[in-house]
Amino acid sequence: MKRPSHLPGLLAVYRREMLSLWVTPLAWLLLFVFLLLQGVSFYIVIDHFTHFTSRSIDQGPVQSYFSSLFIPFSLLMICPALTMGLFAEERQRGTLETLLTAPVSAAAVVHAKYLAALSTYALLWLPTLLYVIIVRNLADVDWPVVAASYGGLLAVGAAYLAIGLLMSALTRSQLAAVMLTTLVLFGLFILGIGERVFDPGLLRDVCGHVSVLSQLDDFSRGVVDVRRLVFDSSLASLCLFLTRRVVDSWRWG
């Protein structure tokens, strides 16, 4: 008796999620708003550098762009929207029953949905590569640093989307899922701000480790701090684990 593997089910759910995300206006709307924000951010950065060329030597335009406040702000906006429907919508519509009674494991469903959100997130970032290319025409671009910056964004996104996924599983309503996710992400953001508020000490250290601003700042300078990656991936794994438990618990609820 061959034990069925999880992969075909995972791939099937992944494909469906991607299709549903991109045939409905949601992903396109997010892409539009997201790129608008990024465009404004990039414009401000370039404008700044054309006027004050000599001000900061250790910070180029690409780096300024990746460490700008626009980024946490856009993450706060797109991550909850990307994940809100993942489970809440299926429960609302009742499609969850057909999905979970197919020969596919809860883990495969959870991971497929998560991967779909994560790749959509990556796709949203893809067009911003153009900014780097534009900058390259005007100045030198340190590609490893650019890679580190994108890596940092991906790590933060991975954690945030996992939180969103969990929140989507916790509620039947997409609106509630968005609000819960935003609340948690905003809480994390505010906690990070603590680094700049508190006196040196344990509290400040904790805040520093959590701070998304410091993380993006580090990575945009090419400083790949493994502790931050560990934090992000732990957060993501914890949320994924909890989501699997939540999905399993529906059977017994």
Binding site: M1, R3, P4, P8, G9, L11, A12, V13, R15, R16, L19, S20, V23, T24, R93, G94, T95, E97, T98, L99, L100, T101, A102, P103, V104, S105, R251, W252, G253
Partner: protein, 382 residues
């Protein structure tokens, strides 16, 4: 999931046939002592039944009886609070994926993704059910054909009518030709034409699949199923072949047509009943004549009365004026009685008393009545 099944190599040779052959004899569904609790509410208590291969079984019960809960436990959407459920020999809790692979399930809601096209949806479901890339097209086409929705392949599910959506869900259940089909209220919310065609489809499927369908409509079971399982308030109240269930009703009635000129025909009937009532020969003795005579054969057409309601007695009119008359009696036997035996005894008695019995026919009660009795609706009504 934790317990992995043994690889074939390690199984001793003499056990191999045990693992393979009886699989076909193992009932497709085995439910043992199933109990399901929602918080304080016990939705299903100690339900046991099994469904063998090739059966078409109706799962009957009023709304809220625990039908959907039971079906959802079988398909693995809900876990049992206690008891065991096996599908195709696999425990639904311990081997959920293997158990589910044998099932084509159509939930009551028939909820689908409105943004997908029918073809996209069915391809997705086929992939979920591990149908290989090469066979996928063929499987989808076959399911579309069986469900009769080849015309809407390209339509967005969101634009389809309820009837078509139901059929898309049915096509989904058929994908991959699972041996077992579980249909939860397949005709709910459809118009009469659609209901008719869905039943037609179910009957056709019954020839090649094992089907378990739930419904609260008895005629549906009568028209599609060979066996019924009746559940009420979470308790299994009856199960058996449809005919057996009818027999269980116990309130069989018989229509007796006597050809007799004598006024005492009715009296004889009553006497016969009384005699039968005390005769130890008849194992199922007492019998109550409920009704009523009806003048007939045009001999005394004017005196034909409408049958009185409420089972009251009336004197057979035709017999009253001494003409030869045909008189019909409707007799009903006691609930526990065996209708056939009672009728035989009654006819024998009447004939012995010199009454000419023209016709004696058992009337089967409708399943509706069976259902009312089994689920105790009668007790509530009175």
């Amino acid at each position: 999931m934790k317990r992995s099944s043994q690889p074939l190599k390690q199984v001793p040779l003499e056990q191999l046939p045990l693992n393979e052959a009886p699989l076909n004899e193992v009932p497709l569904i085995e439910v043992q002592g199933l109990r399901r609790v929602y918080g304080q509410l016990v939705a299903v208590r100690d339900v046991s039944f099994s469904v063998g291969r090739g059966e078409v079984v109706g799962f009957l019960g009023p709304n809220g009886a625990g039908k959907s809960t039971t079906l959802r436990t079988i398909v693995g959407y809900l876990g049992p609070s206690a008891g065991k459920v096996r599908v195709n020999g696999f425990d639904v809790v311990e081997e959920p994926l293997l158990a589910r692979q044998a099932i084509g399930y159509m939930p009551e809601t028939a909820a689908l993704y409105p943004e997908m096209r029918v073809s996209e949806y069915l391809s997705f479901r086929a992939r979920l059910k591990r149908i290989g890339k090469r066979e996928l097209r063929g499987h989808v086409d076959q399911a579309l054909q069986k469900a009769g929705i080849t015309t809407v392949v390209r339509s967005l599910i969101g634009t389809l009518s309820r009837g078509f959506r139901q059929r898309v869900a049915l096509a989904d259940a058929l994908l991959g030709n699972p041996p077992l089909l579980i249909l939860d209220e397949p005709t709910a919310g459809l118009d009469p034409n659609q209901i008719h065609s869905v039943r037609q489809v179910i009957r056709e499927l019954g020839a090649t699949h094992t089907v378990l369908l739930s419904t609260h409509i008895l005629s549906e079971v009568e028209s599609t199923c060979s066996r019924a399982i009746v559940i009420d308030k979470g308790v299994l109240v009856a199960q058996g072949p449809i005919a057996e269930l009818r027999r269980r009703r116990g309130s069989q009635r018989a229509l007796l047509t006597l050809h007799d000129t004598r006024q005492q025909a009715l009296g004889l009937m009553v006497a016969a009943a009384r005699v039968l009532g005390v005769t130890p020969v008849a194992s199922t003795p007492s019998m109550v004549p409920v009704a009523l005579g009806r003048g007939a054969l045009g001999l005394v057409p004017d005196s034909v009365e409408p049958p009185p309601g409420g089972g009251g007695r009336s004197v057979p009119v035709g017999a009253a004026d001494g003409h030869a008359a045909v008189v019909s009696f409707l007799v009903s036997f006691e609930p526990a009685a065996d209708g056939h035996e009672c009728l035989e005894d009654l006819v024998a008695l009447l004939v012995r008393s010199g009454v000419r019995v023209r016709e004696a026919k058992l009337q089967y009660s409708s399943l509706e009545e069976v259902f009312r009795v089994l689920t105790g609706a009668d007790a509530e009504a009175t």
